[in-house]
């Protein structure tokens, strides 16, 4: 009884929250809120970014400690270097293919449960972070509050990593391990679709 009523209470709350929520009208908005919204949605609404960010967390979970936490520390710092390059207008070739490749490669790492040494994992993730950061920096809307945009896209990136880590923690169960490796396969295929222009 209690479990059912707790479920119905939670479901009711979720549905009413959804009904009460207003539409997200954030892209390119002015002011702090608009800038934050534009920055936050930039990684979240780009499926290529989402796939790669979640993959970083999932692979970290497969690699175990300390990689599970080191990768989300390395990624934003190196990503910011890429963003700085994008803002400064320093040319970087093949940004979009690089982002797509990050999903392909990281997805494969998860699919085959590759246990790379920490420095290899950090270098690989760092190299891909440059491409993701460059895209964020180069596409910064001129109308947005720059500080709010930076806070938004860094926070969204970090939260996507945490989502990946949270999902990845299920590998302690056999079914979870299969599910995570399956997610790696899907991420890799999605990356391939981005790379070939299918998606």
């Amino acid at each position: 009884m209690s479990q059912l009523s707790r479920f119905s209470r939670t479901a009711g709350l979720a549905v009413s929250t959804l009904l009460l929520a207003g539409p997200a009208l954030a892209h390119g908005g002015a002011g702090f809120g608009g800038g934050f919204g534009a920055g936050f949605t930039h990684p979240v609404l780009g499926w290529d970014h989402v796939a790669a960010m979640v993959a970083v967390g999932l692979w970290g979970a497969f690699l175990g400690k300390p990689a599970i936490w080191i990768l989300p520390v390395v990624f934003p710092l190196v990503m910011a270097v890429g963003a700085a390059m994008g803002i400064a207008g320093i040319p970087l070739p093949a940004v979009e293919p690089g982002i797509a490749m990050s999903a392909v490669v990281l997805g494969l790492m998860i699919l085959f449960a590759v246990r790379a040494p920490l420095w290899v994992a950090a270098t690989l993730v760092g190299v891909f972070a440059i491409f993701h950061g460059y895209a964020h920096g180069a596409e910064l809307p001129s109308t947005a509050n720059a500080f709010a945009f930076a806070v938004g896209f860094v926070l969204a990136t970090g939260l996507l990593h945490l989502c990946g880590i949270a999902l990845g923690l299920s590998i302690k169960w056999p079914a979870g391990r299969v599910a995570v490796r399956g997610a790696g396969a899907i991420i890799s295929l999605a990356g391939l679709a981005f790379l070939t222009g299918v998606a």
Partner: protein
């Protein structure tokens, strides 16, 4: 003893802040509060204080902590003495924030001499940025006193909270969470540095 110290920090944090409307100097309590808020009035100052606080927080239990505090306080006063109002210190503040946050994220509690250098550099820049634009001599003095109080309390509170969190919660993910937050701060600071120095257009 440590528990009592932490209780005081939580109490200080609970004191409601005043809005940052600080660039003019005014005398009396209003000027003092304006000075306190001034240290948190721009993104570069906030990021720098947060990054320096997290960096110092990793060294609270080392013998270096009094030296770190002393160096940053002395440098803050030197910045007040050396600077003049309106100096463009945003870019150096973002750079200091990035370096401090990166060190706090990648090597927390290590390289204390480098941390001391960063705290001194950050303190110096915060000192320069704390100078009021205009006002009477007494008003400026009161506002500067507030700035010294605000920056000092801000730094100590952030460091103490970081230390209190890691001391109270032994789970390894708590300390790693602070490192992740430091990495996020560093990333934001570097992006802001690029935006500040990049040519317009």
């Amino acid at each position: 003893m440590t528990d009592r110290w932490h209780r005081w920090i939580w109490l200080l944090l609970a004191v409601p802040g005043t809005p940052a409307v600080a660039h003019d100097a005014s005398s009396g309590l209003r000027g003092l509060f304006a000075g306190v808020g001034h240290s948190f009035s721009t993104p570069s100052q906030v990021l720098c204080l947060l990054a320096l606080g997290l960096l110092a927080g990793g060294l609270v239990r080392s013998g270096w902590f009094p030296w770190l505090g002393g160096a940053s306080a002395a440098a803050f006063l030197a910045g007040l003495a050396a600077g003049h109002a309106g100096l463009p210190v945003d870019a150096p503040l973002f750079a200091a924030a990035f370096l401090a946050a990166a060190l706090a994220a990648l090597l927390p509690g290590r390289l204390p001499s480098v941390a001391m250098g960063l705290l001194a550099a950050g303190g110096f820049l915060l000192g320069i940025s704390a100078l009021p634009d205009s006002g009477t001599l007494v008003g400026k003095a009161v506002t500067i006193a507030g700035s010294v109080l605000g920056a000092g309390l801000g730094l100590v509170c952030i460091a103490a909270v970081a230390d209190a969190i890691t001391a109270r919660f032994a789970a390894p993910w708590v300390a790693m969470g602070l490192r992740v937050i430091a990495a996020w701060l560093g990333a934001i600071a570097l992006v802001m540095l690029a935006l500040t120095v990049a040519p317009a257009g």
